[in-house]
Structure formats: C-alpha cells, structure tokens
C-alpha cells in the first residue's frame, strides 16, 4: 500500500484499534455498523459476537478488569447503543477503562428521528469519562488514540465514540495518530512532596493505624507498595469490595472487607483507629455507613488521583493527589529514612487480633441444607484459591467477597458502584478471554443469571471454559433479606421459585449442566465442571432464607452491626 492509498473510515477504525494494541473486541452488528463489520471480515482483529449488547459492555469490562488493558465493545446505533448503557455506567462507577464504539445514522440524518437513531452521546453524557461524536472521518485515528489514552490513564473510565455511518464509508488517506495533546487533561501523578513527608511522619508515629484500600490501588498497580507499607510498619489492612485481592486475604495483617457486609473486626478497627490511610478509595456510603460517626477518632490521610474525591465525603487532614503507586513509593522512601519502630503498633495489633478471633465470619452448618457460604469456601478449596472470580450482585456477591481469600489483584471482578445484576456471566467471558491461563468462575445468583444468561451462547460458541456457580435460593435474596429485617417480612415480589432448570438450560446451549443439592456433592461437581472443556453451569440449590452477616443497616454507624457479635444469624 502506497502512502497515498485511500482507505474507508471503517478500515481506519480497525487499523487504529490495532495500533492501540487492541487484540479483541466484543460486539454485535447492526445496520449502520455493517461497514465496520465488513472491515473486520477482512482483518485479523478478533471479535467476540455476544448475544445482547449489554453482554458486550460487561465482557469488555471483565476483560479490562482481569488484564488491566482497555476493553473495547461495539454496537449499532439506537437500541444497540442504549443496550450498552448499563455496562458503560457500570464501568463509570467502578472506574474501569473501556472504549465503547457505537454506530450512528448518516450525518445528514442526525436529528431527524431516523430509523434506529438515538442521541447516544447525549444519553451517555453523565456516565462517560469523555465522549466523541465523530464529524470528520479523517479524525478517526486521532480520536481512537485519544479515547484509549483518556480511558486508561488518570482515574480510568469509559470513553464513548459515536461514529456516523457517513464517516465509516468515507475514503481518505490514513494517517497514524500523533501524540495526544489534550490541554484540559493532565492527571496529577506525583504527590506533593511536602504532603508526602507529612504523611510519612503521621504513619510512622501512629500507634493505631489502618490502611483502607480501594480499587484505585488495583488500577494503579500499587499492591506491592501497599504490602510493603503494611508489613514494614505493621499496619492492618482492610479493602473495599473493589480492592479484594489488592492485599492478600491470607495475610495476618488482612482484615478483609469493611463496610455494610464487611467483617466485624475491620469495622471495629476503622472505628477505633487513630490514623486512617485511605488509598484509592472514595468513602462510599456502603463503606462508611453514617458519615458523622465514621472513624471518629481518626486523622484521615487520603491518597487519590482524582482531586474531586478528596473532601467529597470525608474531609481529610492530609490530602494527597496523585497516583497511588507513585505516592506510596515516595512515602515508603520517606519512612525508610526514619527510625524503625515496628513494635509501635504491637498493642493495636493485639486488639485487632482479639476482635478477629471473637468476631470471625460464621454461618450455620447443621440443618442439612446447603449453605451458600459453604459453596464459596469449596470453590476456594477446589481451586486452591487461584481462580479469577466474577460475581453477580446481591447476596452471592457478598458471600463471594467474604468466604474466598483473594491473594492477587484483578482476581475478584465485581460490579461495585453500580451494583449491576447480570454482570457475572458476561464479565466472566471477557475475563476468561483476557486471561486464558486462569480458571474463571462466576459466582452468581439465580435472579442475576436470568438477566444475561443468553451469553451462555457466547461462551459455548467461543469455547470459553468458564464455570458458573449459581447460589440458587430462588429468591431475589438481598432484597428479601432487607424485607425480612426491615420490612416486617413482607416478601413483596422477591420469591422467584418459578424458574427454569438451569442445568437443562446449560445442556440446551451445549454447555455442561449440574445440579447440586447436598454438601457432599459440592466439591466433586466443581472438579467435574472445571475439568470439562465446555463452559459449565452448576446449579447449587442453597438454603433459601440465608442472610448475609454481619450487616450494617443502611444509614447507621458501621459499629451497629446486625449479626456482628458472632457473625451469625440470630435465631428468631
């Protein structure tokens, strides 16, 4: 091809994606993206055809969450684009880097209510980090380059590119994108040096510190730094749902998750600490409970790359804007110059250990029914703790967070901020495609699964050997739990006992389906499913009215845990 050869806009999109190092996209064709799909037909860029566009967005997220690379999804105009919306919002709330490419009607039809026209950039405006409505085909390469840059740097997030079919059909001489020049986008990476000194001193002097670690630590790749800081100064570590695996759950300094369904000892430690070191976390209401009583004795040190998070919910004494990895690295260097005093926190760690032994997570095992927590524990045992776990949303998600000890970043993949039911299966597909070296297991719920279970078709079509472990209680379990505890047991529209046989559904798709009703079948079923080359669904018929404990009722202080004392359900 000579430098002057013209190519179509659609070919330019494929080429620009490949120049960004994109190796797989998740999508669904439609009228205005036929030119793009024709370009794909002639290229070696791998495309995974999902069964619903929402699945494409979640798969792109799963891929991004598992690999740390930018995930890409594609949909047509109108309904294709609106079906992506949930996944884009999900990526926005959890700061996940994805690029969503949507087709748009011909430029001269925009605004005429043309067939399959929707104002995609308008609809997605509040849920994207940035978006583009392409005006000139020759800008495509530059826009795609910028989109990847914006999605993957700073605080990551979704970027949408809406491409009128006119641009996909236009022919022009392709020019590789030049360096990104965005005058309004320059994330602060390095922390303020004076603040870093102040922070190091505060950490060094604190007798009762707690590290409160959020998803930013994973996006920044700062897990080693967190571990170094914790172990060198003997600081207990609690992680948010988004940061499971950012610090090994097996480590003696690990407190597990904090917040609404966090461990009692994590919540007690936060309540009693004198220094709360928040790294890449955003003081979400599910973490803090009632804000006015959150960490009442603590001086707060807040490290975040997004200045808008600093002081949004909690006013920190020591704010540091910067990349978690770089800031922690500098704090560690600063701490290293100080006199080592690892015994400073010894008394504190003893107290924390007391709480841990007195308030360990616990569930009832003796009534003959299958406890969902047991299933999660068995998944942990059978996989040796090495699997990548995705989850749906609700009780299944909380048990997956509580009863599996994550030791690696990007090992736990869950819809945290948006709480999107139906996330687990498509995210597992994306994660498995991104990490073929790992076993991916979706710990799902029967309610959530029915929202996106058509993606079993995708998993079978592409031989994606995921295992779906359904904690099937035939309830919309988390809402039922709230109804039981706070709404006088009015189970209004949460009983979904009428449901298909999920093992047969799996079978019908050409996947492996297993139904498990007893404890002694759990491990074998898991081994069979993992060994089978096909995707598998295991329908675990678990105890129906099991609750997630401990629980901090919404809007109360995190020390007001129900079931927090013993971590067990009170018998009525």
């Amino acid at each position: 091809m000579t430098p002057q050869t013209k190519i179509k806009g659609s070919e330019a999109i494929v080429r620009a994606l490949q120049e960004e190092g994109c190796d797989v996209i998740f999508g669904y064709p439609g009228g205005v993206v036929i030119p793009f799909y024709d370009a794909l037909y002639h290229s070696d860029l791998k495309h995974v055809l999902v069964r619903h566009e929402q699945g494409a967005a979640h798969a792109a997220e799963g891929y991004a969450r598992a690999t740390g690379k930018v995930g890409v999804c594609v949909a047509t105009s109108g309904p294709g684009a609106t079906n992506l919306v949930t996944g884009i919002a999900d990526a926005y709330l959890d700061s996940i880097p994805i690029v969503a490419i949507t087709g748009q009607v011909k430029s001269d039809l925009i605004g005429t209510d043309a067939f399959q026209e929707a104002d995609t950039t308008g609809i997605t405006l509040p849920i994207v980090k940035h978006s583009y409505l392409v005006q000139n085909a020759s800008d495509l390469a530059q826009i795609i380059h910028e989109a990847f840059h914006i999605a993957g740097t700073g605080r990551p997030g979704p970027v949408l590119i809406d491409i009128p079919v006119t641009c996909a059909l236009a022919e022009f001489v392709y020019k590789t994108a030049s360096a990104v020049d965005l005058p309004g986008y320059k994330p602060t990476m390095r922390g303020h040096s004076k603040q870093i000194k102040v922070a190091a001193r505060a950490i060094h002097e604190s007798p009762r510190p707690v590290l409160y670690v959020g998803g930013g630590v994973i996006s920044s790749g700062a897990t080693q730094e967190v571990c170094d800081l914790a172990t060198s100064l003997n600081i207990p570590v609690t992680t948010t749902l988004m940061a499971m695996g950012a610090f090994p759950g097996t480590h003696p300094l690990s407190l597990g998750m904090l917040g609404m369904h966090g461990t009692a000892y994590a919540n007690w430690a936060v309540h009693e600490c004198d220094l709360l070191i928040a790294v890449g976390a955003r003081f979400d209401d599910r973490v803090t409970g009632k804000l006015s009583t959150f960490a009442p004795q603590a001086k707060v040190l807040h490290i975040d790359i997004d200045p808008a998070e600093i002081g949004k919910n909690v006013e920190p004494r020591i704010p540091i804007v910067g990349d978690a990895k770089m800031v922690l690295h500098e704090i560690l260097a600063e701490v290293a110059t100080m006199e080592a005093a690892p015994e400073r926190t010894a008394e504190w760690l003893e107290r924390v250990d007391d709480w841990r032994s007195q308030h360990a997570l616990h569930y009832e095992e003796d009534d003959g029914e299958l406890p969902p927590q047991y299933v999660v524990e068995q998944i942990y045992k059978v996989t040796g703790g090495d699997a990548i776990i995705t989850t749906d949303v609700g009780q299944n998600q909380m048990w997956a967070a509580q009863y599996f000890k994550y030791t690696q970043p990007r090992q736990f993949i869950s819809s945290g901020g948006l709480g999107t039911m139906g996330f687990g299966l498509p995210a597992a597909i994306g994660a498995q495609i991104g990490r073929p070296d790992k076993q991916v297991i979706d710990i799902g719920g029967d309610g959530s699964f029915q929202m996106t279970m058509q993606e079993l078709g995708t998993a079978v079509a592409y031989n994606v050997p995921i295992v779906v472990a359904l904690l099937n209680n035939r309830f919309l379990g988390m809402v039922r739990q709230w109804q039981e505890l706070f709404w006088e047991g009015h189970y209004s529209h949460t009983d979904i006992a009428v449901q298909p046989d999920f093992a047969k559904i799996a079978d019908a798709y050409g996947a492996l389906g297993i139904t498990v009703t007893a404890k002694d079948e759990v491990a074998d079923a898991l081994r069979t499913a993992i060994k089978d080359p096909r995707p598998a669904v295991i329908d675990f018929r678990v105890r129906r009215e099991e609750n997630v404990y401990p629980m901090v009722p919404a809007g109360t202080s995190i020390t007001e845990m129900i079931g927090g004392q013993a971590g067990r359900r009170k018998k009525p």
């Binding site: 950039t121 308008g122 509040p126 005058p183 309004g184 808008a308 002081g311």
Partner: protein, 159 residues
C-alpha cells in the same frame, strides 16, 4: 454568597452541554452562565455564577476540572474582578412617566434604545448591584420586560 468562575473551555461541539449537564447532575444551581469566544479562537470562555452557600465551591471546580474540554478555571472575587451585565428593560413611559424614566436613565448612564407611545426600552451595562438599583428605581413606573445577559467578568490586571 455568590461565586464567579471564569472557565476556559475548548471551542468544540457539545462543551456547553457537558458543563450544564455536570451542574445538573451534581445538584449545583447555576445563577447565570455566559459563553463566548475568547482571545484564542480554539478556546471559549464561560463566566459562571453560582450560589456558593448552597454548594461547596471547591467540589464544583474539581468536578468541572474533570471534564476533558475544560482547560482552566479561575475563581474571581469582588476585589480581583471587573464584572458587568447588560440588561434591556422596557418600562411604561406614558405622559409624565416618560420624563421620569429619562431622568433615571440619565443618572445610571443607561441608553434609550427604543421608544413608542406607551413604552421606552433602556439599555444598561453595569455591575450587578448597580443594575439591581436601576431596576428597582424603574419598578414604580411599571416594568414590562427585562432581558439580562448574565454576568461577564474579567480578572483585574496585575499592577
């Protein structure tokens, strides 16, 4: 307390929507928002007035900064800025009222830009407090219509 933000944004389609949308979804109320080209044709300047008692101004500017198309934000205060607003006001001006309207206009250095048998339209460019005084003096005559541009403000030159 009113806050005035001078916001330099890229002159690209959809930028106004992004800014307005941000204010709406974060629950910030805009008193006025004026946008026009700046000295650099690639950039537009917005002057945004908001009530800072209701919303932490800090959070507003931080959220604005997150918009990729926002290049620079400067918060202006009364001492550091020159602020003006233009208003067109149509008052009843029949009989004796006409003389009175003209006198008030003269005091405030307002211009008569339109007149008919019953009404008179005055144009005034002034700082917000002066504009308010002008409007309230005209009230007894009968104000038929008020059109205001919203505040534009510029930082004072450094001496």
């Amino acid at each position: 307390m009113k806050h005035t933000l001078s916001v330099l944004v890229e002159n690209k389609p959809g930028v106004l929507t992004r800014v307005a949308g941000l204010f709406a979804r974060r629950g910030f109320n805009i008193d006025s928002l004026v946008v026009g080209r700046s000295e650099d044709p690639r950039l537009s300047r917005m002057t945004i007035t908001i009530d800072g008692a209701e919303h932490p101004i800090d959070q507003v500017t931080k959220q604005l900064h997150k918009l990729i198309n926002v290049v620079k934000i400067r918060e202006l205060d009364a001492e550091s800025m020159v602020a003006r607003e233009l208003a067109l006001i149509r008052v009843s001006a029949e009989g004796a009222k006409r003389t009175e309207a003209l006198q008030i206009a003269e005091i405030f250095k307002a211009k008569v830009v339109d007149v008919d048998r019953r009404t008179m339209t005055l144009e005034i460019t002034a700082a917000p407090d002066r504009l308010a005084a002008f409007e309230s003096l005209l009230q007894p005559l009968g104000v038929n219509e008020v059109v205001r541009t919203g505040l534009v403000a510029i930082g004072r030159g450094r001496s």
